[in-house]
Symmetry: C2
């Protein structure tokens, strides 16, 4: 690691070091064109290559079926909060939303501009520390779609199975923080969107995987830039795309393939998370935030016995090269984000530090 | 130049080489944090520094008054085609638009979703080869704002003065392809927007400079991500910004300052353009597209005596390291884009090649 630290940031987050090394070269001169990746026209042969390779690698990694388009947009997952109902929800119809944290609430807030929002399951009353299960879910009569946040970055909870979809409704998922962390059956989804800045690349590009039959026409007149079908038809080049982001996603997809694909990612992510969760379960100094069966493999949330100790933990961890581990203000405590590119050695280093810290402050548990 | 070529791309376009060198370093480890710029949380101290420095340098370069906010969004200038009328144009009111090329038309096309569009000046009938002057302009009775494209990348025409604004209307400018190429009085504008990928940085980030009193509230209910005021209030961090783009814009602004600011940019750009235009005016092999008084200093459009020779010119130029000089398909011929970062030596190299080419094919002029 030498001049690099363990970066537990929730996003933008650490990237594979081999990808960064390649990007350093390509910033100056990519494909021996004499032009850096940032400087290539989005219509030239080099960027044709980048676009095609990124899409192909994305399809290979996720085993995305031909029934689905792959493309990318700008504006982050936050822009999808309004683009989804704008494209899919006619006036007078209802969409069902799972309320499992901040990102879900951001989505829910935009629905009334377009149609009706029904909250079909919620963990709000318990601080969003669990995922509503089948018997806790109550759908509206005839929803157009069911939307959920597959991993809740802030809370550290994760859907380990996809929710059901009543009638002919389709599934919409904000997968920003766990896409491509494990194999998933993407044929089940109407629309998947993911801000790239966790598992896929830099901020500023959002990956979309959409059932082709659903995005032909929006349900209402919309500006061109808001229409999924136009972006899909142009393979993410309806207007000038965020070229560097598209390039870097492609490099990350190729890295995933080289590492063994999503099976290998899943195995490594499970192992990494277990290093930390197993330790947490073995002691009573640190308390986890999320319900055990709904814990995230990507964002691990836990607390010391007091906010003062949380603060000290974050400071001392930082000094030891375990950075950006402070929890979101709405939850407090700590959050260790360990996406695909986060190294296993960082998890063992964190546990070693947690042990030392608990030992040094053990008396606090009796307070 | 060694392993780099002259890149005449219209955007994404060439960047200052010193900025690329710095970015290569910062991709691995910025500010000695042990974390690369792509991997920093947009809420951490390093990115606080980047955000503040980018805004401060942007304000210094443009001499932006305190009456105006500086912020950035995603989605390119193309997204502004709908965001502008959505935020500013109430139903039943009219906005005036100058029709000077493709980007103007893209903007004009989105207005009817929100209000009425009046074309106050147009060069459509002559292939958009000039800028409508005062006596060619006819405003609507009481427009909310007047919108224009300050430089037409495809046509190679440029407004050398700002249009007038009748009554209490304000000026909205798409400055994507000539912002910060010369000093401008930004206090005159209600809103300026510019996709960064020409004079400011990479694609994927759009700079906005807006009069604070105009963006307090949109004229209709809008999704949060569409509201200028919310983005301005959070200094471009309403949601996760395109962090690398913001960083790189900051580096480009600092480069402009180090080079002597906009006075120096203007002088160099005038000199660079004159090298090519003076040659074009001295011969009759190559024909310019734009009317002489409306020629752009950024995008220089010209043609050979035949489309076959245009094709040959592009091929032979490419082979000599004068790349991406093919004109837009709607105009044909050639387009030399010579933004701030494009070196003077590239202009002399182009003229040398043009002379040789004209000499070799001079008989064609009599055809």
């Amino acid at each position: 690691m030498t001049d690099r630290v363990y970066n537990f940031s929730a996003g933008p987050a650490c990237l594979p070091e081999s990808v960064l090394k390649q990007a350093q070269k390509d910033l100056w001169n990519i494909d021996n064109t004499g032009i850096g990746i940032l400087e290539h026209s989005h219509r030239d042969a080099c960027f044709d290559r980048v676009t095609e390779e990124t899409e192909r690698a994305c399809r290979e990694v996720g085993n995305i079926p031909d029934s689905h388009s792959i493309f990318w947009m700008q504006g982050g997952a936050t822009s999808q909060c309004y683009m989804v109902p704008a494209n899919f929800l006619p006036e007078g119809r209802t969409a069902d939303y799972f309320q499992t944290g901040k990102w879900a609430n951001d989505s829910i807030a935009e629905v009334p501009l377009y149609g009706d929002c029904h909250i079909c399951g919620s963990s709000k009353d318990s601080g969003y520390n669990f995922i509503p299960k089948r018997k806790q879910v109550s759908h509206s009569k005839n929803p157009v779609y069911v939307q959920y946040t597959s991993n809740n970055t802030i809370m550290g909870t994760e859907f380990h199975d996809e929710p059901e979809t009543p009638g002919d409704s389709f599934l919409v998922a904000d997968m920003s923080s766990n896409i491509y962390s494990r194999p998933m059956d993407f044929s089940k989804f109407g629309l998947v969107y993911a801000g790239a800045q966790k598992n896929l690349g830099p901020s500023g590009v959002t990956l979309l995987i959409a059932r082709k039959d659903l995005i032909k026409e929006p349900v209402r007149p919309l500006p061109k830039m808001m229409q999924y079908g136009l972006h899909a038809a142009k393979n993410g080049r309806f207007n000038t795309p965020p070229t560097f982001g598209v390039y870097l996603m492609g490099e990350v997809f190729k890295w995933i393939i080289a590492e063994g694909g999503l099976d290998a990612m899943a195995e490594m992510n499970k192992e990494k998370a277990a290093i930390i969760y197993d330790f947490i379960d073995s002691q009573d100094f640190f308390q986890p935030h999320a319900a055990k069966e709904d814990r995230s493999y990507m964002n691990l949330t836990f607390k010391c016995p007091s906010p003062e100790l949380d603060k000290l933990f974050v400071e001392q961890a930082e000094a030891q090269g375990l950075t950006t581990i402070k929890g979101h203000k709405s939850v407090g405590g700590m959050r260790a984000s360990i996406y695909n590119a986060f190294p296993r050695s960082g998890c063992t280093a964190l546990v070693a530090f947690m042990k030392d810290f608990a030992h040094a402050h053990a008396s606090a548990t009796t307070a």
